[in-house]
Symmetry: C2
Subunit: 209 residues, 2 copies
DNA sequence: GTCTATACATCGATAGAC
DNA sequence: GTCTATCGATGTATAGAC
């Protein structure tokens, strides 16, 4: 039991240091991108020596991989918002409006998340596995969840739920991308309410046949 | 006249060399990103010495700026496809289907264009002016053109043409991004025809009131 | 004007002290 | 295990020959 305790303490210490390194790596990589981030900077920001960084993560590429996989699996999982439990009884148009508004609100203000998206896309050519980690851990669950919602509301009369989900998500992502990531807010302004209203109207219009 | 001729010849030569440098810079920057591209590599790919590159473009940042602005203004302007002139007489649903299909076809196969998008987004935090050049020269004209089309078809009964355009473009861009840029093709497959059909159906459904 | 050669800083990674 | 010190390679940028 004493042995176990000691072991746990050691592991905790190690994990604490590994976490400090990951935290420093996050700040630097998200701010400067992969190539422009030096291991010296990561070590200094993490408060350890460069040799310690290497002893924990092997090399720069492995550290970057560990960081991004970690962010995709843990940190930004919360970016996916589920329709609340009471939503089953509410009007679909209202549920979708609230969902879209929440997604936009969360995404438009979170600079860290925006930098995460920037680096994932920017490095998706050179680190395809990291882009796929994003797809698997963030995009795919969100799509599945929304698809399930649409399929559970046959009164919406949507013949292709999977495709509708892409319209829904694509509209919101493209808006965040143009207005925030690409700094288009003042060049091509558009109120988010107009977008959300138009989008949810299109989906719930019911084609009146 | 002789003087002028000489001057023109000189300028042509200079411009030819500047073009060669830009061509080399394009290959390297689009393949490796900004930070990971060295001026040595650019010079070698362009077939000139490094000093010549610096004498033409000052420093690395200026060269990158010149290149991306050039690509946004000239090379990828063609990525924007106009509805054909006869389209005024055709069914809107058919026009939109053909337009969406064309946009997807052009975007999904063009690796150079995909790398251009990758670097624009990836560097949009550190080079906001370049992201805005993309918005001004590529996104904004496309949006304006489509908005004009929707406004000229009142029978579609679209209360907010600007917002509808964002839905249209966003759906297509998000699809290209997930399937191609982020290598999600095999993880979350979806036939482009289903997407295009669903999208154009939504817009032309006419709400049957 | 265009080249070669080089200055000077910083990179990723490791050896060796403790 | 974690540090300091340092290696060789490579980066941006420029000086000087022609």
């Amino acid at each position: 039991m004493n042995k176990i305790k000691t072991k746990n303490t050691q592991r905790t210490k190690s994990e604490a240091k590994a976490e400090a390194i990951l935290k420093g790596a996050m700040k630097e990589f998200l701010a400067n991108g992969y190539a422009a981030t030096s291991m010296d900077k990561v070590a200094k920001t993490a408060g350890v020596s460069k040799a310690t960084v290497y002893s924990y993560f092997g090399d720069k590429e492995s550290l970057f991989n560990a960081l991004i996989q970690n962010l995709a699996k843990d940190k930004f999982q919360t970016a996916m918002i589920l329709p609340e439990s009471e939503s089953a009884e509410k009007e679909p148009k209202l549920v979708l409006q609230q969902l879209a508004t929440k997604i936009l609100e969360n995404g438009m203000k979170d600079r860290t998340f925006q930098n995460f998206i920037r680096i994932i896309i920017g490095e998706s050519g050179r680190f395809p596995e990291l882009a796929q980690a994003y797809v698997n851990n963030l995009a795919k669950p969100a799509i599945k969840m929304l698809t399930q919602y649409f399929k559970s509301h046959p009164e919406l009369d949507l013949p292709d739920a999977e495709a509708i989900v892409r319209v829904f998500m694509g509209t919101l992502v493209y808006y965040m991308m143009l207005q925030e990531l690409m700094h288009g807010k003042d060049i091509i302004p558009l109120e988010s309410d107009r977008l959300v209203n138009t989008l949810t109207d299109l989906i719930t219009a019911n084609k009146g046949k």
